[in-house]
């Protein structure tokens, strides 16, 4: 970025105002959601080890439907007498594992595919993009449902199915970023210097498209958590009695008029987690594109 030119450049902007960025994002906009995400992750993964919470399954029916703030059960218990807080933490663990795994897989496979497609161009590019068009032009939840059911409900299968459908989005972003990058002089000079293609991809392309992919990955975390919840909600995700946010909400739905809190607790945690990831993604994007 030309720091020296900034003065006149600013005035030029004023003379012929071009598309203005949405303004700078305060660091609070990043720190706050990041802290929320960290807190939730910490609670889910470390919480059950250090806090005195009962196990998430195997509760006694004698203790079912306890209200919140009952002794030993901060958020009360569900119809099977299991501790709700414990189930939320345990469910969050699997939600986060699925979301991280899916986005990591999608980012690596989709990112590589897109970068290759954009970098190599030609027929390969056309073929890859056509195939991805097939996947992207599609209500992915519908196919995910079919895939999840075909493979049988399990965490691994959920991850594989969701990762498969996250590839096109990552690939598109990666390809667009690579195409923009290809126009820049340093890429031409790298090619002219005879640097091998894989080395250019690794050394020049990868670090430059990473921010955009990671930003999208943050939004992707929210999306995957929601879809994973939907699968579990429909009974096609993590099989009960193992807890997940989705199947807790589904279970609570049966008695929503009598004990609405069974729906409210996992829903609230789901919402806060997704919101935090969305804010993180949005603000990262604004920050990276804002200057």
């Amino acid at each position: 970025m030309a720091v020296v030119d900034a003065g006149p450049a600013l005035v030029e902007h004023a003379e012929t105002p071009t598309a203005r960025t949405r303004g700078r994002v305060g660091s609070l906009g990043l720190v706050l959601p990041a802290a929320v995400v960290a807190l939730i992750a910490l609670a889910c993964f470390v919480g059950p080890l250090v806090l005195p919470v009962p196990p998430p399954i195997g509760g006694s029916v004698l203790e079912s439907y306890l209200p919140a703030f009952s002794p030993g059960h901060l958020l009360g218990t569900d119809p099977n007498g299991n501790d709700i807080l414990s189930r939320i933490l345990s469910g969050g663990r699997s939600s986060l594992i699925v979301a991280v795994a899916v986005n990591l897989l999608g980012l690596l496979v989709g990112g590589t595919l897109g970068a290759l497609s954009g970098f190599v161009g030609g027929v390969a590019d056309t073929v890859i993009m056509r195939v991805l068009d097939v996947l992207i032009a599609f209500p992915s939840l519908v196919l995910t449902l079919a895939v999840a059911q075909s493979l049988g409900p399990s965490q691994t299968n959920t991850i594989l199915a969701l990762a498969f459908f996250s590839i096109p989005a990552f690939a598109r972003i990666s390809r667009a970023a690579t195409l923009r990058l290809r126009e820049l002089p340093f890429m031409a000079s790298a090619v002219l210097c005879g640097t091998p293609g894989w080395r250019i991809l690794l050394r020049h392309v990868a670090p430059n498209i990473a921010p955009q992919l990671i930003t999208f990955g943050m939004l992707g975390m929210g999306i995957v958590i929601v879809i994973e919840g939907a699968l579990s909600f429909l009974g096609l995700g993590i099989p009960p009695p193992a807890p997940s946010w989705g199947n807790m909400i589904s279970q609570g739905q049966q008695s929503i008029s009598a004990t609405p809190m069974l729906v409210v607790w996992p829903s609230a945690v789901l919402f806060v987690t997704v919101l935090a990831f969305n804010l993180l993604g949005e603000n990262l994007r604004a920050r990276w594109s804002g200057r």
Binding site: V134, A137, S140, L141, L143, L145, G246, I249, E282
Partner: protein, 337 residues
């Protein structure tokens, strides 16, 4: 070539079929065919991965291997997948989507009414979301970064973070359980009066519409502000001395609308996907419910049909957006010099 040169001269309508816009739509239509084909192949392949065979599932766990084998033969499941796919495809292009493995009814009969329910739901959700998003975005862009704008942005990011099944249950909790103004579940067909029908559709439609509303508002508001702050024609309009609302609606919105059409077209796939889970929650007899039932009974002929119908709907929506774009945007309609 002649078409694009000549197009500059004649009025709208004349030679419309050969105009650049229509040629664009034709190209997209040709692209849509392989997409739908690809989706059907993908579904077929995926459904073939099912561990327990359909016959086993249909007969229950007590069935003997002989019984299973006999049913497989009867259903033609012993034939290679490629042949079965080609058979299916041959039927599909003539409007025959096969027979349900469970009920033995023709799939097209099963789809009929359910398609209408899902279609009504999607249409309602679409109308609500777009109908509210446009005025909200216009109001927000009228005074960017002021109270209304900031408020609507908070609502949008919130709405985009609420899963539609959570929202659906929240609506049930408030409007059906607490206030009892709408039914929690169930469907009243249009034949029993539009009032009752709309009442049974209201909550599900809102549950699907709200996240879309947030998405459209956010997009349109952002694009409007970009137009207002970055485009020279806006300065020209302001320099004419016309009022700020006129600048916003007649000039900026006119241009933003094109971006919105594209986004809406791409987004209709999400809208259709959203109907699946919401139908389940509200027990609406739509496509989503049919598909979930079929998934659970391993009736993969029905699943296949549902998936393809969803795909065709998404592709058609996209195509419709392209068509609309081509009809509305003079740059495409008349080609550029």
């Amino acid at each position: 070539m002649t078409a694009s040169v000549g197009a500059g001269r004649h009025r709208a309508g004349a030679g419309f079929l050969t105009s650049p816009g229509m040629r664009l739509v034709g190209k997209r239509l040709l692209l849509a065919v392989p997409i739908v084909l690809g989706v059907s192949i993908l579904t077929f392949w995926v459904l073939n991965l099912i561990p327990g065979s359909a016959a086993q599932q249909l007969l229950g766990p007590e069935a003997t291997p002989e019984q299973v084998r006999a049913l497989e033969l009867e259903l033609g499941l012993d034939r290679p997948a490629v042949l079965r796919y080609l058979d299916w495809l041959g039927g599909a292009v003539t409007g025959d989507l096969g027979q349900s493995l469970v009920s033995r009814q023709p799939v097209t009969d099963l789809l009929g009414e359910r398609l209408a329910v899902s279609g009504e739901l999607a249409a309602l959700a679409f109308l609500i979301s777009l109908g509210l998003a446009v005025p909200t975005a216009l109001l927000a862009a009228y005074r960017p970064n002021r109270l209304f704008d900031r408020l609507s942005m908070v609502v949008s990011i919130t709405g985009l973070s609420v899963a539609n099944y959570v929202l659906a249950l929240l609506l049930v909790l408030i409007f059906a359980v607490q206030m009892a103004v709408f039914p929690a579940i169930g469907f009243v067909p249009l034949s029993q009066g539009p009032g009752a029908n709309l009442q049974s559709m209201a909550l599900p439609a809102v549950a699907i519409a709200f996240p879309l509303y947030c998405f459209y508002t956010r997009f349109l508001r952002g694009d409007l502000v970009d137009q207002l702050q970055g485009e020279d024609y806006v300065t020209t309009a302001r320099a004419k001395g016309i009022g700020p609302w006129q600048v916003l609606v007649r000039h900026a919105f006119r241009n933003s609308a094109f971006g919105l059409i594209t986004v809406v077209g791409l987004n209709l796939g999400t809208l259709i996907g959203g109907t699946v889970i919401v139908e389940q929650i509200f027990a609406l007899p739509g496509m989503g419910q049919l598909m979930l039932q079929a998934i659970n009974t391993r009736d993969f002929v029905v699943v296949q049909a549902c998936v393809v119908v969803f795909a065709v709907a998404a592709v058609l929506a996209n195509l419709l957006a392209d068509l609309l774009y081509a009809v509305l945007d003079p740059r495409i309609r008349y080609g550029s010099r």
